[in-house]
């Protein structure tokens, strides 16, 4: 029997006795009968618990929805019966293993409490969740999650690539002096350090330091990206299953609104505001359902026309910004060709123009998009949010793809020095300027808006924290970091510092300038969407760019660990050729040549996966039909149950002593105010006495069923 049945038993005591003795007498039961029944259920529960292992037993007792006293009672009974059983088999080994498992359990508990104590920002996040609700909190948890990705990347890169390089080149210092501008432009002093690809050299040939920098560089970055991909797919799938498949997708569902009341909200004003918002939302959803959606054809054509226009305008804006950025990139390249002395400060500062323009477009055009969406009329506010997110993602990804195209096509051929370091510097500048623009965005979007909203134009009011824009900003910055890992291995450090500072900045701005969001709910589904956006197009795009660079592009000749090779991947091929000589690793060489290098293998793999997907899709279709059939079955069984109970009651009333029959009219059923066409309900309606304390339908049914089962068991025992 499963844990579910145990839990049902656990609810017996709580479900029955609150009805009171009066209710029980009406159905012909005494309190003793009820208590006997409860005792026997408890004994069955104890018997089941004794058969489980100690860990499962503890977990099962913890899962029981009873008060502490009852749980202690059951636990003592279980321990007593276990020790009495053990009295027969007192072996030393059983005792020892029991002690070991007990101490292991204590260790595990101690570890988990220690882990909870050192969790970063635990108190702050609880405070934010208490004041602003779970949807705003999801932004900060997302930020924390990205911080973890970057920390792992930095540690891995630093440990396996940077430290060996620093050990190798200790004693050599760059010949350019440090000016403060490097922190922003990333060029100059940083150019020849381990910050960028160019600072790494494969030293296996000329020194006796046997560290193959080529393989280390390639495999560290590959392993990190694979780890990222796996964890993103895992989180995405788990979140999708929890929030989309198992959840109810109908919009404005009343239950979902009621059940999403945030119990952790502590602020009095926030609670009042939340109640207001909930009322408004409930009224809106009611009016939505009652409204008829029959618009005339001309109206619908007009709506369609407006939608089409706005889409064309937004695509045009994105295309325009991409073209502007592309021309600016070409101009930058030409400047490099023309420039005579590479150390000129003015020229280095002019390289900041490109990131500035990119971030400006990323800040301004989404504002234009939200203005456009006000012109359109969306029936469903959720749909509106999806459209805004889609447009913003499209804009950001198209800007990134034009930059990647420029780097891959033009930079590799036209830059005289290390083109990888040049790309790394570009990315560094983009990340830093993006950070400054986040600060500005916070300042203008929240601080100034609050000032305007409270002092100058009170009709606008205090701004809400715009979760979508901020999360998309985070995703964009993370995409830049993932692209930049190959070209600048220490870029995750910059991103880490940036995220750390951004957390505190956003927290301060939130507390001072924003109010809790008006629309509640759907935080979980938006979370899934953000994780999905982080995977595709962000991670997949970065991965494909790095893969293309590694597979197809020629590394520059004058710098970096891969100088002299035709492609970066050639380092692995050469290594495989070297290991082919050693006979112990022939299996590795076989795997490499027959699985990784052959196309037939991947083709077959893809074919097998397609067949499996089709198979699982058919299974889901079958399960959907099964759910419909089971729901119908539940309705039918409810009807059968009501019919049988009515029969049972009539038989019991006939067999009861006349004293009881006088005082009892017979159980009154609830008058069915719920309008369904159930043809059995009329037969069951009697004269309703609303003032009388009627026994609850469900629990009296349960008692009847239990009594019937006890009688049946007693009859069985007699045979």
């Amino acid at each position: 029997m499963g844990v579910t049945s145990m839990r049902r038993r656990g609810t017996l005591k709580t479900g029955l006795l609150p009805g009171g003795n009066v209710a029980l007498e009406k159905i012909g039961l005494t309190e003793e009968d009820v208590r006997d029944e409860i005792m026997s259920e408890e004994q069955d529960l104890v018997k089941e618990l004794v058969t489980m292992s100690t860990r499962e037993c503890i977990q099962a007792i913890r899962d029981l929805p009873m008060c502490m006293e009852d749980k202690k009672n059951i636990r003592n009974q279980v321990l007593a019966s276990k020790s009495s059983k053990k009295g027969f088999l007192l072996t030393c080994s059983a005792d020892c293993s029991e002690q070991i498992s007990l101490s292991l359990r204590r260790c595990g508990v101690g570890l988990s409490s220690a882990r909870q104590a050192v969790r970063l920002w635990q108190g702050t996040m609880k405070e934010i969740g208490g004041r602003f609700g779970t949807s705003v909190l999801s932004y900060f948890s997302f930020l924390k999650w990205l911080l973890m990705f970057n920390t792992i990347s930095f540690l891995v890169n630093f440990g396996f690539i940077t430290i060996p390089q620093l050990v190798q080149t200790s004693g050599r210092s760059p010949d350019v002096r440090f000016t403060g501008l490097e922190l922003i432009t990333g060029a100059g002093y940083f150019n020849q350090t381990v910050m960028y690809y160019g600072g790494y050299i494969n030293g296996t040939k000329d020194s006796d330091f046997k560290y193959n920098m080529q393989l280390a560089y390639f495999f560290t970055i590959a392993a990190y990206l694979v780890l990222c991909g796996v964890s993103l797919i895992y989180s995405m799938a788990r979140s999708f299953r929890r929030n989309f498949v198992l959840s109810d997708l109908s919009s404005g569902s009343a239950w979902r609104l009621l059940c999403s009341w945030d119990f952790s909200m502590v602020n009095e004003r926030a609670v009042r505001q939340r109640k207001n918002n909930l009322r408004v939302q409930l009224k809106e959803s009611l009016s939505e359902m009652m409204q008829t959606n029959f618009l005339p054809v001309s109206e619908r054509m007009k709506q369609l026309g407006i939608h089409l226009c706005t889409w064309v305008v937004s695509a045009g804006l994105a295309a325009g910004s991409c073209a502007a950025i592309y021309y600016l990139c070409q101009y930058n390249l030409q400047q490099i060709k023309v420039s005579q002395n590479p150390g000129n400060l003015k020229e280095e500062a002019s390289t900041l123009l490109l990131p500035f323009v990119v971030s400006l477009f990323n800040l301004v055009i989404p504002l234009l998009y939200s203005l456009l969406s006000k012109v359109e009329n969306y029936s469903n506010p959720r749909f509106q949010i999806y459209v805004i997110i889609l447009r913003n993602v499209f804009l950001k990804m198209s800007i990134l793809s034009i930059l990647c195209f420029h780097w891959v096509n033009n930079v590799t051929t036209n830059v005289p020095m290390c083109w990888e370091s040049y790309v790394g510097q570009d990315l560094y500048r983009l990340v830093i300027v993006n950070f400054f623009f986040s600060i500005f965005g916070s300042f203008f979007g929240e601080f100034l808006r609050r000032i305007i909203g409270t002092r100058c134009m009170p009709s606008i009011g205090i701004p809400e924290f715009d979760i979508a824009t901020n999360v998309l900003d985070l995703i964009y910055a993370q995409t830049l970091t993932w692209i930049g890992i190959y070209f600048s291995p220490l870029l995750p450090l910059i991103q880490m510092i940036k995220l750390f500072l951004l957390f505190y900045l956003k927290k301060v701005s939130l507390n001072r300038n924003c109010q809790p969001p008006r629309r509640s709910g759907r935080a979980a589904q938006m979370q899934t969407i953000y994780i999905a956006l982080l995977f595709f197009p962000s991670f997949v795009g970065a991965l494909s760019l790095v893969a293309y660079t590694v597979w197809c592009l020629t590394p520059s000749d004058s710098c970096g660990p891969f100088q002299g090779l035709n492609t970066t991947f050639e380092a692995v091929s050469l290594w495989m050729e070297d290991t082919a000589i050693i006979s112990e690793f022939s299996w590795a060489v076989w795997i490499y040549s027959h699985m990784i290098k052959s196309e037939l293998f991947f083709f077959l793999l893809a074919l097998i996966f397609l067949v499996l997907i089709y198979f699982f899709w058919q299974i889901t279709q079958g399960r959907k039909m099964l759910i419909i059939l089971l729901k119908e079955q539940i309705i039918n069984e409810g009807k059968d149950k009501a019919f049988l109970l009515e029969k049972l009651r009539t038989f019991q009333n006939l067999s009861l002593v006349p004293y009881h029959a006088e005082n009892v009219h017979g159980p009154q059923y609830f008058e069915r105010t719920y309008q369904t066409e159930s043809d059995y309900s009329e037969g069951y309606q009697r004269g309703a006495c609303p003032e009388e304390d009627t026994p609850p339908f469900a629990s009296s049914a349960l008692m009847q069923a239990m009594m019937a089962r006890r009688q049946a068991e007693e009859e069985d025992e007699e045979y």
């Binding site: 008060c67 979902r256 609670v271 469900a698």
Partner: protein
């Protein structure tokens, strides 16, 4: 806080850790907050009981619209006055903690929403639930038409066996389809 009664004995602490979803720090913090709320002379009692009025002064419960129902549901006192012993308090925190299972949370949520304690959520219970969450004064209440329509919608969605009430299994089924429930049914000290 210098008396020895304010310290939890170790065996009780490990027993509480086994029986609830709380960690050791959370149990100690709960003990500290509980003894702070006790009146001075109650502290030396063997199993002191906090009256409901004192529990409702906790900042985590003060603005909660279900504060009285929560105290009544978790109270084990015989006269149903909502007073809590320390073990009841731990039960409360355990059900509302981060690591409690969705089944426990939905079970207790059902009992909290069941205003008349009859084991099912009928129309009156649902009406009181909506009023609790939207405000109880005359200008903030929903009109009776809107309320009727809303409750019809709720019952249509969740009443699977069509008996006009929502019982525990139907409630748990609805909860399992609302992914926001588990993360919002939380109270942390």
């Amino acid at each position: 806080m210098g008396t020895s009664a304010s310290q939890l004995p170790k065996d009780l602490l490990s027993e509480y850790q086994e029986l609830t979803f709380l960690t050791k720090q959370e149990i100690l913090l709960a003990h500290k907050r509980f003894t702070e709320l006790l009146a001075k002379d109650d502290r030396s009692c063997s199993n002191p009981r906090l009256p409901m009025s004192r529990i409702l002064t906790l900042p985590e419960l003060k603005s909660n619209p279900f504060k009285e129902r929560i105290c009544l549901v978790f109270s084990t006192s015989d006269n149903k006055d909502g007073s809590l012993t320390f073990e009841d308090f731990l039960d409360l925190l355990s059900a509302f903690s981060d690591s409690a299972t969705s089944d426990i949370k939905s079970h207790y949520a059902f009992r909290i929403f069941d205003f008349d304690d009859d084991g099912t959520l009928d129309r009156k219970d649902l009406e009181r639930l909506v009023n609790c969450l939207t405000g109880d004064t005359d200008e903030t209440r929903l009109t009776s038409d809107e309320m009727k329509q809303l409750i019809n919608n709720i019952l249509e969605e969740s009443d699977i066996d069509k008996d006009g009430t929502v019982n525990l299994s139907e409630f748990q089924h609805v909860i399992s389809r609302s992914p926001d429930f588990v993360s919002s049914f939380k109270i942390v000290l």
